[in-house]
C-alpha cells in the first residue's frame, strides 16, 4: 500500500512502488487531466506539481511521490491567474498538451512572478505543442504575471 496526497486528498493505493505516478493518477485515481505524451520526460504533457515543483509524472516512480503534496491540473484552482490567462488569451487548440503547459507555467510564476522572455522560454522549452500555440503561451504567461503582481 502506498499513501499519496493528491490535490489535498489522501489516497491509499495498492500498487507496485515502481509504477509511474502518471499512470497511478490516471488509472487508479481517475484524474485524466494529466496526459501521456512520450513516457520519457521529453514532452511535458504529464507535468504535475510535487511540493510546488513541476515534475514529469511519466518518469516519477509513485514511491518517490509518497509523502509529497501533489497537485494536478484538476487541483489548480479555476481562478488561478494562469488558467484565467490561458482562457483570456485563447491558448489551446487541440488542448492535449495544455494541462502540462499550464502546470509548468504555474510553477514558473510561483518561483519567479516577473519572468523575462528568456526565463519563459527556458522554463517552457520542455513542453511540446504540435498545434503551435507557442506565441499564445508566451502572451498568456506575461498576462498571468501582470495579474499576479497586481494582486
Amino acid at each position: 500500500m502506498i499513501s499519496l496526497r493528491v490535490n489535498g486528498k489522501t489516497y491509499r493505493i495498492n500498487v507496485s512502488p515502481d509504477r509511474m505516478l502518471l499512470w497511478v493518477i490516471r488509472e487508479k485515481l481517475g484524474l485524466t487531466g494529466t496526459k501521456f505524451g512520450c513516457g520519457m520526460a521529453q514532452c511535458g504533457a504529464c507535468t504535475v506539481h510535487m511540493d510546488g515543483h513541476a515534475v514529469r509524472s511519466c518518469v516519477t516512480p509513485v514511491s518517490s511521490a509518497s509523502g509529497k503534496a501533489i497537485v494536478t491540473i484538476e487541483g489548480l484552482p479555476k481562478d488561478h491567474p494562469v488558467k484565467q490567462a490561458w482562457i483570456a488569451e485563447q491558448v489551446p487548440q487541440c488542448g492535449y498538451c495544455q494541462p502540462g503547459q499550464v502546470m509548468q507555467a504555474a510553477a514558473l510564476l510561483a518561483a519567479n512572478p516577473s519572468p523575462a522572455e528568456t526565463d519563459i522560454l527556458r522554463a517552457m522549452n520542455g513542453n511540446l505543442c504540435r498545434c503551435g500555440t507557442y506565441p499564445y503561451i508566451k502572451n498568456a504567461i506575461l498576462r498571468a504575471s501582470r495579474q499576479m503582481r497586481s494582486r
Binding site: 487531466g33 505524451g37 491540473i73 484538476e74 489551446p92 487548440q93 487541440c94 492535449y96 503551435g132
Partner: protein, 719 residues
C-alpha cells in the same frame, strides 16, 4: 463533450418536449425535417443539427471532429447566427457516426482537406434559418398576430409593435408541431451578428481545466488495457515468442496474435508494456530488410531518371529549348511523422449484438465500416462516439488503430482501451511520404517565365485509402500545388513517377502541397535570381490578369507589411513564398538569420497574408490556425526527418525526431484579405509557404540554396 448514438440522441433532443431540427443532405440538396417526423419514418434516418430545450439550451450537433482547428465553435456560430440564438446558451455535441452525417461534398463523415466550414456553411445556415422561421411562426400563433410583426432576437421572439417577448424555450413545444420550411430565407451578410466575430472558443475552458475528454481519457466499466508488440521491420512476422512469460507478468490477462503483431491485454498500460517486453519476440526480416536512409535516397534519385505519367501538359514545355535562359534543379524531401501530442488510442467494447467505439477519429465512416467488417454487426448495431482529438493533422483519417482496438475487444471478450506508446506512434505512423523532383524552367529575353517542366517522384497515398480518387493513373496528392499554380505559365508539363516501397504513407497537414509548395516556390526564387529580378517583382509579373488579383494582393501585402526591399536588420535577410491550396491563397515573408558555423537558422518573424474568401467565420480561430500551420511547417522545414534502418523506421521519440520548441517559435503576424469570391480552407493552406519562405531567406542571407529538407542538417552537412 457528450456523444450520442442516433437513438439516444433523438431521445435526448426530444426530452421535455424540446424542439429539434433535422436536415438531411441528399444528392439534390437539403431536406429539412423535424426529429419526430424523422423518427416516425422508419425508412428514413435523420441527421439532427439543432435542438432547443424548454430551459433555452441550444445544442448544435456537429459532424466534424474537433482536433484543435475550432470546428466546435465555428460550426455552432454559423447555425446560431441564422437561428438568432443567444450565444451564451449555445453548446455543441459530436454527432454519432451514420451516413446521414456525411460531408455533402465527400460522401463520408470525415474531417479533412480544410473543408469543414466550407462544406458545412450552407447546411448549418439552412438548419438555423428553418428553426428561426418556425419559432417566429410559433410566437405569432401564440399571440394571434401576423408573423410579419414578429422578429427573432437573441434567443427570443419579439413582437415589434408591443415589445413583448417569448423565449425559444417557451416556444419550443409549439414550434415542434409546425411544418418545416424547405427554403427558409437566409440572412444577408450585413445581418450577421456572430459570423465574423472573434468569439471565444467553446472548448477552451474544459481544455484549460483538464476536464476535456480525449480518446486517452475514456473509461468504461470492466475495461482492460491493450497494446501490441510490433515488428522492427515493415511486414515482419513473429518467428517465436514467449507467451508463458508474458502471461506470468503481473496484471497480464490475455496474449494472442493479431494482424500486425502480438496483442497483450492487462489491468493497466504499464502491465501491458511489461508483458510486451516479456514476450521476447524473434521476428523475421520483413518485406525489405535492405530498406534504410541510403537505399531510400537511391530509389528517389533513380526515380528522377524515369519517365512518369503525365498529369498536365499545357502548351509546349519542350519548346523551352529555344529560350535564352534555362535552369534546372532537383529537390529532395524527407518522410515526416505526424506526432500528434495524443498518441494513437481507441477504446472498444464488442459484445453480442452491439459494439461501442470511443475514438479520437477524423474518419467516422472508416471506423464504422471497419467495425462492421471485423464484428459482422450491422451499422445500426455499431456506435461510434467521437471524443476530442489530441491533434489530427491527417493522422486520424487512417483508422487502423481503431480496427486494432475493435479486434482485440472482440477476441478478448472485454472492453479494451488500446494505447500506442510514443515509439509505436512514430515508427508505425502513416508518414508524409518523402519526395524527389526535378524542375526545368526557361525564361525569355525579358526574363519572363515561359516554360516549366516538373517531374515528381513520390509514393501514392490514395492507392491505400481511396483508389477511386486516382484519375487517369495519377494520384492527385502527388502533383497538387503544381498543376494548379496560380502563376501565368504558358507552357507547363507535370509528370509523376510512382515510387513503391513498404513504408506506410498517409495524409499529413497540406499533404502533397507540403512538398510541392516547397519545391515550386524555391524554384520560383531560383528563376527570379536567374532573371536578375527581385523575387517579389518576378512573381507579380506572372500575376497580372484580373483573376490574379487575390494572389497579387497577398504578395504585395505580405511584402509591404514585412518591409520588403528596405535594408534588413544586421545579419538578417528575408524570403518570400506564395501558395494556393485547399481553396485558399497565402503569402508569407520570413525574416531569418543564419549561423553558418553552427548550421542553425533563427526565424525572427513571419508575416502572413491569407485570403480564404469573403467570410471569415471566426477571425481569431483563423489567425490561430495560420500561426499553428506556420509553426508546424517551420518545425518540419528546420529539423524533422524520419530515419530508417534494417527495413523499418528507427525514429522513436522526441529526442531523435526533432520538433520545434517554444524557444524557436517566431513572432507571426497574420493579415486577412477578402478578395477571392469563394470560401477556402484554413487548417492546411498556411503551412506550405513557410518552408520555401525560410529557405529563400537562407539563400538571401548566405547564397546557400536549400534543395533538401530539413534545412538545419542540410546546412551542417550539405548533401
Amino acid at each position: 463533450m457528450k456523444t450520442f448514438t442516433r437513438r439516444e440522441f433523438i431521445k435526448y433532443s426530444l426530452a421535455g418536449t424540446g424542439f429539434a431540427i433535422a436536415l438531411t443532405i441528399t444528392p439534390h440538396g437539403y431536406r429539412i425535417l423535424q426529429a419526430e417526423e424523422a423518427e416516425a419514418d422508419s425508412t428514413f434516418h435523420p441527421n439532427l443539427w439543432i435542438s432547443i430545450s424548454e430551459d433555452n439550451r441550444v445544442t448544435i450537433i456537429i459532424n466534424k471532429s474537433e482536433m484543435g482547428q475550432g470546428v466546435s465553435t465555428a460550426l455552432p456560430m454559423i447555425a446560431a447566427d441564422e437561428l438568432e440564438a443567444d450565444w451564451r446558451q449555445v453548446s455543441f455535441v459530436e454527432a454519432p457516426a451514420q451516413p446521414e452525417y456525411a460531408d455533402p461534398s465527400m460522401g463520408m463523415q470525415l474531417t479533412g482537406g480544410s473543408s469543414s466550414v466550407r462544406d458545412m456553411y450552407k447546411p448549418f445556415r439552412l438548419a438555423g434559418a428553418a428553426a428561426r422561421v418556425m419559432l417566429i411562426s410559433a410566437a405569432a400563433r401564440t399571440w394571434a398576430v401576423p408573423e410579419g410583426e414578429c422578429e427573432a432576437v437573441s434567443g427570443t421572439v419579439r413582437q415589434v409593435t408591443t415589445g413583448r417577448t417569448l423565449t425559444y424555450g417557451e416556444l419550443a413545444q409549439k414550434a415542434s408541431g409546425l411544418a418545416v420550411p424547405q427554403k427558409p430565407p437566409l440572412k444577408n451578410e450585413t445581418q450577421f451578428r456572430l459570423i465574423g466575430l472573434p468569439l471565444a472558443r467553446l472548448d477552451i475552458p474544459d481544455k484549460v481545466n483538464g476536464a476535456a475528454i480525449f480518446g486517452m481519457d475514456i473509461s468504461v466499466p470492466g475495461m482492460l488495457y491493450a497494446g501490441i508488440a510490433r515488428p522492427p521491420a515493415y511486414g515482419a512476422r513473429p518467428l517465436a515468442y514467449n507467451k508463458e512469460a508474458a502471461l506470468k507478468s503481473p496484471g497480464v490477462v490475455k496474449v494472442f496474435p493479431v494482424p500486425h503483431g502480438i496483442a497483450v491485454v492487462a489491468d493497466g498500460i504499464e502491465d501491458v508494456w511489461k508483458g510486451v517486453r516479456a514476450l521476447d519476440i524473434r521476428w523475421d526480416k520483413g518485406a525489405d530488410p535492405s530498406l534504410d536512409n541510403r537505399s531510400l535516397e537511391k530509389s528517389f534519385m533513380e526515380g528522377l531518371g524515369r519517365r512518369g505519367i503525365t498529369a498536365l501538359d499545357r502548351g509546349d514545355a519542350a519548346a523551352a529549348g529555344k529560350a535564352p535562359v534555362k535552369i534546372k534543379a532537383s529537390y529532395m524531401l524527407p518522410y515526416l511523422a505526424h506526432v500528434t501530442m495524443e498518441p494513437m488510442d481507441c477504446t472498444a467494447n464488442v459484445r453480442p449484438g452491439r459494439c461501442d467505439i470511443w475514438a479520437p477519429t477524423q474518419n467516422q465512416t472508416g471506423v464504422l465500416e471497419s467495425a462492421a467488417g471485423i464484428t459482422g454487426l450491422s451499422p445500426e448495431q455499431i456506435h461510434v462516439h467521437t471524443t476530442y482529438l489530441g491533434g489530427g493533422f491527417g493522422r486520424r483519417g487512417d483508422f487502423g488503430y481503431a480496427a486494432e482496438a475493435i479486434r482485440i475487444s472482440k477476441l478478448a471478450g472485454v472492453p479494451v482501451k488500446l494505447i500506442w506508446s510514443r515509439p509505436e506512434d512514430i515508427k508505425y505512423d502513416t508518414f508524409r511520404p518523402g519526395q524527389s523532383c526535378r524542375i526545368e524552367g526557361a525564361l525569355d529575353a525579358g526574363g519572363k517565365l515561359v516554360s516549366w517542366s516538373h517531374r515528381v517522384v513520390v509514393p501514392s497515398i490514395f492507392e491505400h485509402f481511396a483508389p477511386q480518387r486516382i484519375k487517369s493513373g495519377v494520384d492527385p496528392t502527388a502533383v497538387s500545388g503544381i498543376v494548379d499554380m496560380d502563376y501565368e505559365i504558358p507552357n507547363l508539363h507535370v509528370e509523376w513517377v510512382k515510387l513503391e516501397n513498404p513504408i506506410p504513407v498517409g495524409f499529413w497537414r497540406a499533404v502533397g502541397n507540403s512538398q510541392n509548395g516547397f519545391t515550386t516556390e524555391s524554384f520560383m526564387d531560383e528563376l527570379a535570381r536567374a532573371a536578375k529580378k527581385d523575387p517579389v517583382e518576378f512573381r507579380l509579373a506572372l500575376l497580372t490578369k484580373k483573376r490574379h488579383l487575390p494572389a497579387a494582393s497577398l504578395i504585395e501585402t505580405a511584402a509591404e507589411k514585412a518591409g520588403w526591399g528596405k535594408p534588413p536588420k544586421k545579419g538578417q535577410a528575408m524570403g518570400m513564398a506564395y501558395h494556393f491550396s485547399y481553396g485558399a491563397r497565402v503569402a508569407e515573408v520570413a525574416e531569418v538569420s543564419v549561423d553558418e558555423k553552427k548550421g542553425s537558422v533563427t526565424v525572427h518573424k513571419v508575416v502572413c497574408a491569407i485570403d480564404c474568401g469573403p467570410v471569415a467565420v471566426n477571425p481569431a480561430i483563423l489567425t490561430a490556425q495560420a500561426r499553428g500551420g506556420i509553426i508546424m511547417g517551420l518545425s518540419a522545414a528546420l529539423g524533422e526527418r524520419v530515419e530508417f534502418k534494417n527495413g523499418g523506421a528507427v525514429s522513436s521519440n522526441f529526442y531523435n525526431y526533432h520538433e520545434l520548441r517554444i524557444s524557436h517559435a517566431p513572432e507571426i503576424e497574420v493579415h486577412i484579405l477578402r478578395n477571392q469570391k469563394t470560401m477556402g480552407g484554413i487548417g492546411e493552406p498556411p503551412l506550405p509557404p513557410i518552408a520555401p519562405a525560410v529557405a529563400n531567406a537562407v539563400f538571401a542571407a548566405t547564397g546557400h540554396r536549400i534543395r533538401r529538407l530539413p534545412i538545419e542538417p542540410e546546412l551542417k552537412h550539405p548533401g
